[in-house]
Subunit: 306 residues, 4 copies
């Protein structure tokens, strides 16, 4: 079994279940049998929704948190331009890719650590905490130094090595659902992070693989809503990737907020048509500003803010 | 080629395309080459959105039309109770199944024509026009007599015989997307109806088959939004069937409205726990009333009514 | 409840289950409670595999039955040419479409009853029984007169009206799996036919909708193998439709035989490149002959013939 | 651009394409423009099928290579028992998991390096080269020392960090298709390995996620056959994982061979019912021996050996 401090509670995890009897430790507040495929991420033992703090931004509370920024950091100028624009429009977090997971090895692979440093500078100027995706556990030091929230991308959603590392880094984690994974598997992946004592995980619905061809992926809001009944962790929705076309992003972002997303991830680029990745789906700063206004209006009738 | 009067225009459809040259008729306003797999349902020749009138209810205009009622008509009392309740809550149409398509032959198959008559009586009392599903072209007379809008269900979405018949019945049609069909195929199915001179078709997203297990089907709002860019026909969303659990219906209904649905289909039963079909997903009248209030509030910030 | 004579047995079907107590009839050999979603098509009450006879051709026995012919009947000459070629190569049945279900209304819709008559003449000359697809219950008389086996296509796999009619026509039925249907649902659809007293049903795996793009549909041989453990009915595999490209047809046909298919459906056209439908996936007569030789060799090492 | 020695040829890879003009080097035999999303793994520049050598075992040649062994190495005795049995039955490679990727953190995670050492000892006794899955790039030294072929599992199929590492390790790689990945994406993942100068890659079809529930995954033999037309790399099929039930494994293994698989992966356990993982789908040694006989007979009529 394993001892753990999570959400301020002293826990003992016993697996297989029979071992729970052998635990003798008065400081343990909860002894968890792991009969189910996930326990820590489930809401049987922890009824209250978890608030994940990214510096001073709280995900999972009343406010719908919007994280916006370029798909990939391409240059300091591009990143600063977007960071200022999304800050002005009301975004709470700056997102941007420094290390890019690309299906083809010939696509732009990102600026790497230099990209993280550019994001840091943009964060210092705008005050927006930074979310960025990690691909390799060996880059942990750069992420600990320059990022405020670690993103695990869809293609690494069941990269258990990386999940464990993210758990140990002590930073909040944005965990994306794999293209071919169920919501239950997403929650099980979160369990790997929580097991390392890191309870600050936001789950992210970003579209799954289906036969439908008019969108890039199928945004599964039903899965997100069902997932919210299974876990205490907050949910983010990413409407940009499943849309694949910028004409669809507004409607899917609003639908995500109406469905109950606690956080929204939007790709914004100063000139989407020349972007080095995901050129088709990034919004212009102007379009993003309009979207923020619509999100705020929507959140208010749902009893939330944005 | 085929001559056609649609949306008040005199058309000539030529297929294969080369035949278009052979058409000599001065009254023809538009000669349509059918190079694409759908033309009449597409929005290249008809830019303005189509308003589908179901008696005095207009689908596709400013108002989000809510159709509510039991999955299956079980008795006059049950149907009247629901009809009064949904009318009071603000629904615009009464939906109810008289002929039920059931995966198993041992499940309740519906009351048949008697069910249609009960719906008619409920309509007369409440003033709500009736939507009901047809399974067999040979039942056309009963539907012409008792129904106001003909529903083609998901399992018959590519039953081209039934589509053609529905086109000839002269009533507005609610056409559901098949479990395994793309949005483009849904629009192609609508083309079969329009080819018969019936332009009053509402397309309905009701969830597709995917690997996700926490919901019954995957509601594809992205497909609906993409579909709205391809056709002039209005779109309905059915959150009840994909949810499969009533706890999910509110969130998915609100998401559908936020995504731009022109019409929403909700299953309501006086006592869902004893319903003869879809017991798990029907709302109580009280829950439906609350949902209507939430839909109205949401519609208002989107510049619509409900 | 319902009385039924099936496979030479006198049955009483009781649903709901409690009614089984009320049946008093000494001639009834088996009283079936319908707790499960299918009973008659299941192999709990009938352990021995069912042999379906199409005239003198037996499907479900030792011989792997090959049905071959054009996707669509286009002319008498085309059909006779193919019929003679596939007969010569060793096919047991002639398949051909007279009524064609087409996604687009502008695609070739088939020759209708004239097509059935052409198939009949080809059958008379070659001695091959005819399999052809029915789309509309109102065409039953033509099918009773001209066809030897009635095909229900994938798009009508849950058209319960047509299933019931096929059950009443007294001819063997080839029932295809719907694009979005599970194997269990396919067996439930067969149950509709068996309930009408027609036990001569062959189930057909023809590919399902998935996200994979290199083939037209995903041939689910795993589903077929699993299905064979659930039912006493024989299984056919159609490698032509999922392949979508003729280069893939041989390999998938051989895989189907190796997986245990009792029947194989192959599209053959004298000049595939000018075919009015499915031009990409039809084999030439020469290629089909080679395939037959390979199928025979394969069947022999599996302890079967072909 | 990048210089590369692959399959005995001196290559220069230019991306973007325009850079190809700038390459001046007389020793370069081929200058590859990377307009397509994969080049090295494609069969435009290399028409002949690639033979991948795992010690003295050749994958991609005339012989169908069977790799068999336990899902997870549980003990030396269990592993040796299986290794001897599969050797006796005619397997060419020993497969076994030392590091196990498990959806749930509470499932058995494997013996780690100790597991690799046990496999090594089993290999020394039986002469069968060892295939085992790597999860973490930081374990490379143990794999270089103890394994003969490195497996990249389905969940890491787009873990580009691990793919690059595998490329650098200088051992043949068995690359599995991700649950939600297309065949084209699988080939693109292989491209990452080839770009590091390692051309010894076997692609593995192991089932994808679909809506079908009677099997664990849907074995996509059509995708494998289509893939063989796109690449010069050999293909393996894994019938054990998609089957999920041992009753289905024989049929799917035979179907894989008939479809043209160059290698087959089979899970075998001395006592499947007490296995610590995949208990439902592992074969007994006796059942595996029977399967080998059937595979050999099948291969012979296909003009191959096994």
């Amino acid at each position: 079994f394993k001892f753990l401090n999570l959400y301020g509670k002293q826990l003992a995890l016993a697996y297989p279940d029979s071992e729970v009897e052998g635990i003798k430790d008065d400081s343990v507040e909860l002894m968890v049998k792991t009969k189910k495929s996930y326990v820590l991420a489930g809401n049987e033992w922890k009824k209250d929704p978890t608030l994940v703090k990214v510096k001073d931004v709280e995900v999972g509370g009343n406010k719908v948190v919007v994280a916006a920024g370029p798909c990939a950091v391409e240059s300091e100028e591009q990143t600063l331009t977007v960071a200022r624009a999304v800050k002005r429009a009301g975004a709470s977090l700056l997102r941007g890719g420094a290390y890019k997971p690309r299906t083809s090895p010939y696509s732009f692979q990102g600026l790497g650590e230099e990209g993280l440093k550019i994001l840091r500078r943009a964060s210092e100027e705008t005050g927006l905490p930074v979310v960025s995706e990690i691909l390799d556990a060996r880059d942990r030091d750069a992420f600990v130094k320059f990022a405020d929230m670690i993103q695990i991308g869809a293609r690494n959603s069941q990269n258990f090595t990386l999940l464990r590392e993210a758990g140990k880094m002590g930073k909040p984690v944005l965990l994306k659902r794999g293209l071919g994974n169920t919501v239950e598997e997403l929650i099980q992946s979160a369990e790997y992070i929580l097991m390392e004592g890191n309870g600050n995980v936001v789950l992210c619905e970003r579209g799954i693989r289906t036969f439908e061809k008019s969108t890039r992926f199928t945004l599964d809001l039903g899965g997100m809503v069902a997932g919210k009944l299974m876990t205490h962790l907050p949910f983010c929705a990413d409407p940009s990737h499943p849309a694949g076309k910028r004409e669809l992003v507004h409607s899917l972002a609003l639908a995500s907020v109406a469905a109950g997303a606690d956080m929204i991830l939007i790709e914004v680029h100063p000139k989407p048509e020349v972007a080095l990745s995901d050129s088709e789906q990034q919004l212009t700063p102007d379009s993003f500003q309009l979207l923020m206004e619509r999100i705020k209006a929507l959140a208010s009738v749902l009893g939330r803010s944005a």
